[in-house]
Symmetry: C2
Subunit: 299 residues, 2 copies
């Protein structure tokens, strides 16, 4: 499939490419933004390709929210990595949304799983889309990226809220794929919180708890070995986050990691006074960028 560039926006020292492409996984057109850092334009082509960070956004977001407000670009230019901002769900009139028209299920709320239920399984396959189809598609578009960016192998993943869940879940299910994982205010234990049970119930089935387990980071941690204790997971959550107690429950992932090979791997930072917004995300993007840059071999 080909990638259509709708606009190419100068940002910091690089370019933000706003793209659309047809997706096999979601059977819709998908929007995705790609920040190509300044090193792409200034560095000579070498055997060392520019690595990629995938950033998964939270409920209601399009690829534009984080592109405009998280401010990864300045950090990407400092270290020299590309940033991919996928959409949060399939879109379009033919895609079923939430029957209740709420904002925490359906469009803008794909939850980065492969749906198995009747109404949603046709389009809501964001897991396959994000972790497989999209990286392969980007890698294949050598006319655009000149084979100078590594979208497949030297890659890391981060996300916010629902996207923080998506990053944790996708990382733990693909330890051979991602070099590092971090999350801002993630839903760490979706099986036990309202946002998660609504999403898992709707996309995977109310009674299919074994399928829920396949995506829940707190279960995955127990069933996945941290090889040679090599991985750390960086998490920041603010004390003024209105979703902290009811939806995020960051202590659950620390508890789940206890007695496993992940016990010392969870770098959970509860930060005083921060909320759930992009003001919070952008404040800790520099720390997360440095964390990923280390794991991507950039520093």
């Amino acid at each position: 499939m080909s990638l259509n560039i709708n606009s190419k926006i100068a940002s910091c020292g690089g370019k933000l490419l706003k793209c659309t492409h047809d997706s096999v996984a979601t059977k819709t057109a998908m929007n995705v933004n790609v920040y190509v850092p300044k090193q792409f334009y200034t560095a000579a082509k070498t055997s060392q390709k520019i690595p990629t960070l995938y950033f998964l956004s939270g409920l209601t977001c399009t690829p534009d929210n984080a592109s405009e407000k998280a401010f990864w670009q300045l950090q990407a230019d400092i270290y020299g990595f590309a940033v991919v901002f996928p959409d949060t769900s399939p879109r379009g009139d033919n895609v079923p949304g939430d029957p209740e028209n709420s904002w925490d299920f359906g469009k803008g709320a794909g939850f980065y799983v492969n749906a198995t239920t009747g109404k949603y399984k046709e389009n809501y396959n964001m897991y396959d889309y994000v972790h497989s189809e999209l990286p392969q598609l980007l890698q294949k578009n050598k006319d655009i990226f000149e084979d100078k960016i590594d979208f497949l192998e030297n890659v890391s993943i981060a996300g916010h809220s629902m996207g923080g869940f998506g990053a944790l879940s996708g990382f733990l299910k693909n330890l051979n794929k991602y070099k590092s994982c971090s999350a801002f205010a993630p839903i760490v234990n979706p099986s036990v919180v309202p946002w998660g049970t609504k999403a898992f119930g709707g996309y995977l089935g109310e009674t299919s708890k074994s399928k829920w387990d396949e995506y829940d980071p707190c279960t995955l941690l127990k069933n996945t070995e941290n090889p040679d204790n090599k991985y750390k997971i960086m998490i920041h959550v603010g004390t003024a986050d209105p979703f902290l107690e009811k939806q995020l429950k960051p202590q659950n992932i620390v508890a789940a990691a206890k007695g496993t090979t992940w016990e010392n791997a969870i770098d959970l930072n509860i930060v005083d006074g921060f909320d759930h917004s992009y003001y919070f995300i952008s404040s800790f993007v520099p720390a997360h960028a440095e964390f990923h840059a280390k794991h991507l071999g950039l520093i």
Copy 2:
């Protein structure tokens, strides 16, 4: 008048205060955001107060656009200055808007002048509001700012588009007030471009060209001496800015400065490929922050 804090949002190392207050100049409630940098919270109180940068936004903006997307906060923390984000006009059902309901006049488009025409002179006094009432009000609120921030004397001004005009115009009319001025894609010569003639015609009167001259930076430059050539004005404009030729005309300010004491003062940077958006602004905020920090005695 008192300043009501609607919310206090942790951002980077400081806090963004979203405030509302009654205004004498506009006879309405006004919204304003103030970023209080980390130095306010970490530094001991000294005789050296934290200086302030006023940032005037462009057409259609509220105080939130630049607070979310320009990303001054990180820079403010580096150098130690506060940032004030005023609104772009009075608001409310009782305030007259544009009879044509367009976005380039009326609400969200106050143009930082004092209106003299019948319908608008009651409320549209953004010049007095921004350069006089607001700084005095902020300075008086010692319960909030603990007398640690200097909102009145060690201050600089910057702006974007309409706000770039507002910054240039306000600076040239108040050389004793501001230490430095910079602008992103400013309307430098409003008297000769569509946005400017519509605003000046509506707020100052179609035939009152002498009043237009009182605000047009290209005229003010000729009538205002740059004492000992001490001031520089930093301007960035992108080559992909869709308003470059028709509305911004940056070459007009260079031409106007020729043969005046401002001839060597205009640091005009035409930057390749940048548009008119916050992607452009945020890319050059670090350079403008450093420029102002020097003039504010911070480096």
